[in-house]
């Protein structure tokens, strides 16, 4: 990745980033190595992490119970660090479909899903998801039956949500790894549901 030192024309904010970073390095507050290591760690945080949690909950009833009771602890059981925040898993059932949003900014279960997609941070999603979720989900191609209640969870800096989707029919004999393969990021945000084809 290393494009440090190659000073091509900058935008104002890129210039600010480079300048701030150099000042912090000069002051001994950060080092370039630490910044690079953090960027690498960030790349490693992908939705596959959340998918592991979901697949475990689908295959082990006791784990699912622990996940719903205390998602932070249940993730840590799988070796996933959840630094300093309260994580809540919300379970989809035939009666209730859950979805997450952060109306004020962009809070998101980053440790499990990585950096949020652009649309999650967009004005249109943030504004409308809490007012007309059924219409917004339809725009994602997800039609929730009229008889199913939709519950939208507004995240905060200290409390993040993860949607535990329903295990699709036809996966009864699948093992955990194969199940994890169909759990998409969007399914864990609640704007999609897992399908046997993984689509």
């Amino acid at each position: 990745m290393n494009d440090q030192g190659a000073y091509k024309p900058f935008t104002y904010y890129q210039l600010m980033e480079t300048s701030l970073r150099e000042l912090l390095v000069e002051k001994g507050i950060l080092s370039d190595e630490q910044v690079n290591a953090e960027v690498a760690a960030m790349r490693a945080r992908q939705p596959e992490r959340g998918a592991r949690v979901v697949a475990r909950a689908w295959t082990e009833a006791a784990y699912k119970k622990r996940l719903l009771a205390n998602a932070t602890a249940a993730c840590e059981e799988l070796g996933l660090e959840i630094p300093g925040l309260h994580l809540v898993a919300v379970e989809n059932t035939p009666q209730v479909h859950n979805a997450i949003v952060c109306t004020l900014c962009s809070c998101y279960p980053r440790v499990l899903l990585g950096i949020p997609p652009d649309w999650y941070k967009s004005r249109n999603y943030r504004s409308r998801m809490v007012r007309e979720p059924r219409a917004v989900l339809a725009e994602f191609g997800l039609r929730i039956p009229d008889g199913t209640q939709i519950r939208v969870h507004d995240s905060t800096a200290d409390m993040r949500y993860l949607v535990l989707p329903m295990r699709p029919k036809g996966t009864e004999d699948w093992d955990e790894a194969r199940l994890a393969g169909i759990v998409t990021r969007d399914a864990m945000i609640g704007v999609a549901v897992p399908t046997v084809t993984g689509g």
């Binding site: 000073y7 210039l15 480079t18 701030l20 912090l24 507050i29 910044v35 997609p117 652009d118 007012r131």
Partner: protein, 103 residues
């Protein structure tokens, strides 16, 4: 009556959700990395960052990209904390820009 903040948009009318995604360029990832590192070192809190993002004028809030808001807010927070001064930053930005021009 308390006026609603510009960032406080939950429930407001808005358009269709465009399902946009982009691959984050390195400088944006480094902004994110600096924020995480400074948080764990307790040099900043997430609440300060959020406060400084929310303090952006509505015009800037809408115009700036996500990580442009973050770097503006992070810089502002570190100036408020006295970790850096705006003079230092100004000099450094000039220096980096000169270096960029010199290629």
């Amino acid at each position: 009556m308390i006026e609603r903040g510009h960032h406080d948009m939950g429930g407001q009318p808005a358009g269709k959700v465009e399902r946009t995604e982009h691959d984050y360029p390195e400088w944006e990832r480094r902004v994110d990395a600096m924020v995480q590192l400074l948080r764990t070192r307790r040099k900043i809190t997430v609440d300060e960052l959020r406060k400084n993002i929310e303090a952006l004028p509505p015009e800037a809030y809408d115009r700036l990209s996500y990580y442009e808001k973050w770097i503006s807010s992070l810089t502002q927070t570190l100036i408020q904390r006295g970790v850096i001064t705006s003079d230092e930053l100004g000099r450094k930005m000039e220096q980096v820009e000169q270096r960029a021009k010199a290629g």
